[in-house]
């Protein structure tokens, strides 16, 4: 029983990170109808910014994460303005291919700039753990969890209680009506993409605190983002949290009760099941799930 509780706790800790990560992927997909296959590589960029700040200036990731977020915000803003902007009106599949190409470019850039070596940061909290009710909570992962959750909630507030948030929501519901009511669509798209980038950057910083990474390790994060977004529902902040937690817990329970090799089979099986049974995801609003071809 204790083992199950511990495994569920592990799942929740991992789920927090998944939730934060998937937010950036979800908002871009939901608002701009753009699936960004380079998302994982943008997360890696964030991790490398954090790594640079740590090795060059000795900054702890707990301090430097806003810089990773800012760097990726700016990067994503200009990427959208200069390139992706031209794509918004063509078919969704072409944008898939486009971001696949972008992913290759980013991987190669990371390889050239940082080499293929596996990097990791010294652990801020080492292997310190915190025990309660017979459960162990690694302090480092606990902190990451709290930060991830904080970030997700901050985004929720931003989307629901700010002018920018309103513009983004209006654009995603009906671009034409939004334009008529005086919203600058191009700018809104750029800001949406930039927010997605900032979240990728911050997620990268959080990943750097706990995990090792290399230019090619982004792919797995893109895949997980897919699953979380589908599970939770597109474009919904509470959905991302639910989806992230669910995936984290299910994956961990799968490795407890089945051979841990089946972890991915269960994760993706769940994805299929949700798609078949309830396409809009657990907490997704029906509207976001409508196909925009």
């Amino acid at each position: 029983m204790e083992l199950i509780a511990q495994v569920v706790l592990n799942g929740i800790l991992l789920g927090g990170l998944y939730a934060c990560m998937a937010m950036g992927f979800s908002i871009v997909w939901g608002v701009m109808n753009l699936i960004n296959l380079a998302y994982g590589s943008m997360i890696m960029l964030g991790a490398y910014v954090t790594w640079l700040l740590a090795t060059q200036l000795g900054l702890s990731p707990l301090v430097s994460w806003p810089f990773a977020g800012l760097a990726l915000f700016v990067f994503a803003y200009f990427l959208q303005r200069l390139l992706i902007n031209r794509l918004v009106r063509i078919s969704i599949f072409m944008t898939l291919i486009f971001t696949f190409g972008l992913n290759m470019v980013l991987i190669n850039v990371n390889l050239l700039a940082f080499s293929a070596d596996v990097r990791s940061l010294p652990q801020t909290f080492g292997s310190a753990t915190f025990s309660f009710f017979g459960l162990t909570l690694p302090v480092g992962r606990g902190v990451v969890f709290m930060m991830a959750l904080g970030m997700t909630l901050a985004l929720h507030v931003l989307l629901n209680h700010s002018r920018v948030g309103n513009a983004i929501k209006a654009t995603s519901f009906d671009p034409l009506a939004a334009r008529l009511s005086g919203i600058d669509i191009q700018r809104t798209y750029a800001i949406t993409f930039a927010i997605g980038g900032a979240i990728a950057g911050i997620t990268g910083a959080l990943i750097a605190t706990t995990y090792s990474f290399s230019p090619v390790s982004g792919e797995i994060y893109t895949m997980k983002s897919f699953v979380v977004v589908i599970l939770g529902g597109l474009g919904s902040v509470p959905g991302a949290i639910a989806g992230g937690m669910l995936l984290g817990i299910v994956e961990n329970l799968a490795s407890l009760f089945l051979d841990s090799g089946y972890r991915d089979a269960v994760g993706f099986g769940l994805l299929l099941l949700v798609l078949i049974v309830r396409r809009q995801g657990l907490l997704g609003k029906r509207f976001f799930a409508e196909v925009k071809m």
Partner: protein
Amino acid sequence: MFRMGTTATHRSIGAIAMACIAWSMGGTAAAQETIRFGAALSLSGRLATEGKLVREGYDFFVKHINDRGGIPVGGKTYKVSIVYYDDESNTNTSVKLYEKLISEDGVKFLLGPYGSSATIAVSTVVEQHKLPMVVAHGAATTIYNRGYKYTFGVLNSVDHYTRNIVKLSSEQTPPLKRVALINENQLFPQLGIDGAAQQAKEFGLEVVFKEKYASGTKDLSSELEKMKATRPDLVIAGGYTDDMILLARQIKQVGLKPRLVGFLLGPTLPGFIRALGSDAENMLEPVQWTPGMPWKDSLFGWTAREYADLFQKQYGHAPDYHPPQSTAALEVYYHAFQKAGSLDPQKVRDAVAATDIMTAYGPIRFNANGQNVAKSMSVVQIQNGKPVVVYPLDAAEAKLRLAP
């Protein structure tokens, strides 16, 4: 880009052209002729860290043999060069590039790629062309037991890796009894850990946990919780570098406290200790080679230690076992050329099969499958932030330490 004529004719035209070039260079030609080796390595992609070390070992040989004038074969001395490609750590690309090395670049003598999967796929192409390939970094047993005639590996195959760790554990007082095994679900780690399960049976240990995880798994804490519940004395894990760093970290985080932890690879790779700091203490790795080994090279005359010092001077970092393993593959060729007295691939292949030499990397002699059976693995442990040899006992630099 497209060549005229059938491959056979184009190859012979190529040979004639080469001969003409050599002839036209006249007197200086003898000193200029070159034996070209070929290899596609993981210079980018997920195995690039290892790929870089492999290349340094090959280049190390090239530099030092050319400094000595080259390889004498049948009265002539040849310079040595290697044609490299990057296989992006992708097996399909690797296969393509070996075909290129053979049929476009006319390379007759192949060096292995990095990693078991790539080696197993590539060896098929090389076998079809009936050209020799000396493998330096493909440890999977399945590479060698398919009856291939042209593939030779200088390293111990993966089923031997953990043998001495298990043996050591059984020799402690009191002996370690309970062993837990975990590996990435991939060719090399799987065979290695299957080997460990075999050895556990042989030395009387009980396997209390054995599981595999999917490639790319980013969190192993639940697997380790489950393992913790089985109270292992010895943990052996198999996978590639970043997974092993993750695993070592999470072993500490979940509070798993076995007396010994061993890895198929990891602790001696640059970056492992840097990433883990004091958490890396006491971790074990079976290694093909360490600078502490008592070998003396019959070609260059250097000992294992001298090899390491020279390498350090040249590349600015100490060699783990990858570079000398690469160097050894080329030394096999060196001696085979001498024995064959010819650059005919078939004769060289036969001479390679009859190899019986001593290198700074260790003794090399192949069995009928092309596996090196002359050498065994040693075991290193991280002590005070440094890898030291703890087995075999006659080469040991320190005594094995057990966690309390």
